[in-house]
């Protein structure tokens, strides 16, 4: 079986977000990580590899430095890495990202494509389903369990009020939730091996059946009208009070606002 996992290198927002003196986001100062949902997707692929045997390819689109995230995936156990990078692909929205990745995927043999549900920088959850549409294959989003049976994949698909057990014929695309599993660590030897392997690098010319009008900033239907670091609501009153005074204060405010 051949599995392709789409992964993304994202800024690590966990340790807090760094700002420039002018209040804008300092992306350069933030460490990068493999997007958590993607990592769960990779782990799911590696488990299928352990259980039923599979060749696992990781695919990413990004700057040349996104090579790092492919090496990390290979150090965890992925067999091949493909980096799609090209100046003309920059500034892509989810549509143009999905057309790009679909263009790359058309060059690859796959039975199963796994993507993370969403990336922690954009939080859109759109690229996976959009890729599946471009490739005309079924999609099962929000997977919390994945198994393979013959030529089909069986997925527990999470909803707000429970889950569906869904079966789809491969080739198929599945988007993974972080809750799917606990991703493995790399191994020291795996890291050394990963740096001895070649990462395949593709540019615009290597994408199959994609029109220029669907790529990069120019090919993105959505445009940013305005972006800013979030402006918080202004502070109200702040008082330091002993317990009894505090209670009186709160009761007064609740009465004033007709809550009680």
């Amino acid at each position: 079986m051949k599995i392709v996992v789409c992964i993304k290198q994202v800024p690590d927002t966990k340790g807090g977000v760094k700002f420039n003196p002018d209040g804008t986001l300092d992306r350069g100062a933030m460490l990068t990580i493999m997007n958590p949902d993607d990592k769960a997707g990779l782990e799911a692929a590696l488990r299928l590899k352990d259980e039923v045997g599979a060749e696992v390819t990781v695919l990413t689109m990004g700057l040349p430095k996104a090579d790092e995230v492919l090496r990390e995936a290979m150090a965890m156990g992925a067999d091949n890495g493909i980096l799609v990078t090209d100046r003309v692909l920059g500034g892509a929205d989810t549509w143009a990202t999905s057309t790009t990745l679909a263009g790359a995927l058309r060059n690859i043999d796959y039975d199963l494509i796994i993507t993370g549900r969403q990336a922690i920088d954009g939080d859109t959850a759109q690229v996976g389903p959009q890729i599946s549409e471009h490739l005309d294959i079924p999609v099962i989003s929000y997977a919390k369990a994945i198994k393979v049976e013959g030529d089909s994949v069986i997925v527990e698909r999470q909803y707000d009020d429970g889950y569906h057990v869904v079966k789809a014929k491969m080739p198929c695309l599945v988007t993974a939730l972080s809750e799917l599993n606990e991703p493995r660590y790399m191994t020291p030897g795996g890291i050394f091996d990963a740096f001895e392997k070649e990462v395949t690098v593709w540019g615009r010319a290597d994408l199959k059946d994609v029109d220029d009008s669907n790529l990069g900033l120019a090919g993105s239907p959505t445009k940013i009208a305005k972006a800013s670091d979030k402006v918080r609501k202004g502070a109200g009153e702040k008082v330091a009070l002993e317990a009894d005074e505090a209670v009186t204060y709160i009761m007064d405010k609740l009465k004033e606002k007709h809550v009680i």
Partner: protein, 389 residues
């Protein structure tokens, strides 16, 4: 000359750091408090290959390098010095001499399971009457047919009881030197736990690294196969000294990690803690102390990494000695660890003296690095010996 870490070393560090933060740090206080050997984490590390980092792949290892191994001990020790020394003693003092001096059969039988993390290793040289002075060693091995018979005891053995394989130094011959004095000739042996006649004595209660198991080993007519001698008969002393050269780099990395861990926590704390209406990090005393601490840590780091690279040259087949580099690294890193942790406790004030904050533990842990695998005085002897020869 290049002071930049390669991409793979950066990634290796990230791996050790993630593991240390996620798995080891949450256990560190409990390991110290209860004096429990961190077995579960050691087993996890075994599965991830952390117990065979510099061992070649053909012997079940990771095929990575000495620097990666050193960074592993360093990152673990930043959060838990106990866990750091478990890896160091296992790798440097047990796997490494088998890799260097073992026969192919010994490597297959002992090194492979050690490197795969299926078995844990330890090393026994020190005795109640023999620490720095090896001639005081009383443990004796006598060849009886196809077996060596060991008698004697070893003390302060790291990974004692938990280790499956032990490298034991015993004297096998007494010869006369040129002046007619009787001199012991030593040999090294591989002894398996469970061998009849091999038992464990007291478990030591220690000031620091309290989770590491430190035991007395007792040999009473302990018979081991003849082929379990490691290296040539009579070469046990140079084998032990060479093994300790490597071990010292591991302990230097442990000391470095302790110092770095204490510095990191102090930076965090002084930014948060307020006195007289402002963070104590805003005070010049704090700033200058932190600057001194950071500079010393960086200097120690350079020495430790340099020693690791020198040992790498040896591992790559060059006939070089890394004895002086190892001694300097350990001397400097141990003293920096002691100084930085003491200053950290001072900057924390009362909170530094209580167990809730890690710097209290780190200061206790740091002290041992000035003592074991050769005290700071022994390191000075090694270094000055090379200067004055």
């Amino acid at each position: 000359m290049d002071f930049t870490l390669s991409k793979q070393h950066e990634m290796v560090r990230k791996l050790f750091k993630d593991f240390a933060e996620n798995e080891v740090k949450p256990m560190a206080q409990e390991v110290d408090e209860t004096e429990q050997f961190p077995l579960e984490n050691v087993q996890k590390m075994g599965k991830l290959g952390f117990l065979g980092i510099p061992v070649p792949k053909e012997y079940g290892g990771q095929g990575a390098d000495i620097l990666s191994y050193i960074m592993c001990v360093e990152e673990l020790s930043k959060v838990c010095a106990t866990t750091g020394v478990v890896v160091s003693a296992h790798t440097s003092l047990c796997a490494d001499p088998i890799l260097t001096y073992g026969t192919e059969e010994q490597k297959q039988k002992y090194l492979v399971p050690l490197a795969k993390g299926e078995k844990i290793g330890a090393f026994g040289l020190t005795e109640p009457g023999a620490g720095t002075d090896a001639q005081g060693v009383q443990t004796k091995a006598v060849l009886d047919g196809d077996e060596w018979v060991l008698n004697g005891s070893k003390c302060f053995i790291t990974n004692g009881k938990y280790a499956d394989f032990y490298i034991i130094i015993a004297y096998t011959d007494i010869v006369e030197d040129r002046r007619g004095r009787k001199v012991k000739k030593f040999s090294a042996f591989i002894v398996e736990k469970g061998t009849p006649g091999f038992t464990f004595g007291t478990k030591e209660k220690k000031m620091g690294i309290r989770g590491s198991a430190t035991y007395e080993l007792i040999f009473q007519d302990c018979r081991i196969p003849k082929e379990n001698i490691l290296g040539p008969r009579g070469k046990g002393f140079p084998i032990a000294m060479h093994t300790l050269d490597g071990g010292r780099i591991g302990i230097a990395a442990q000391a470095l990690g302790i110092a770095e861990g204490a510095l990191e926590r102090t930076i965090e704390y002084t930014k948060e803690r307020k006195q007289f209406g402002r963070a104590i990090s805003a005070q010049q005393n704090t700033q200058f102390q932190l600057a001194n601490m950071a500079t010393k840590v960086e200097a120690a780091k350079m020495l430790v990494y340099k020693a690791a690279l020198k040992k790498q040259e040896f591992a790559d087949g060059k006939k070089v000695s890394y004895s002086v580099e190892a001694a300097m690294a350990k001397l400097a890193a141990a003293e920096v660890a002691m100084e930085v942790t003491t200053k950290a406790v001072q900057l924390f004030g009362g909170y530094g003296y209580i167990r809730e904050y890690d710097v209290e533990r780190m200061m206790r842990d740091a002290k041992i690095t000035e003592i074991y695998e050769g005290t700071s005085e022994v390191q000075r002897m090694v270094i000055s010996g090379s200067l004055l020869k």
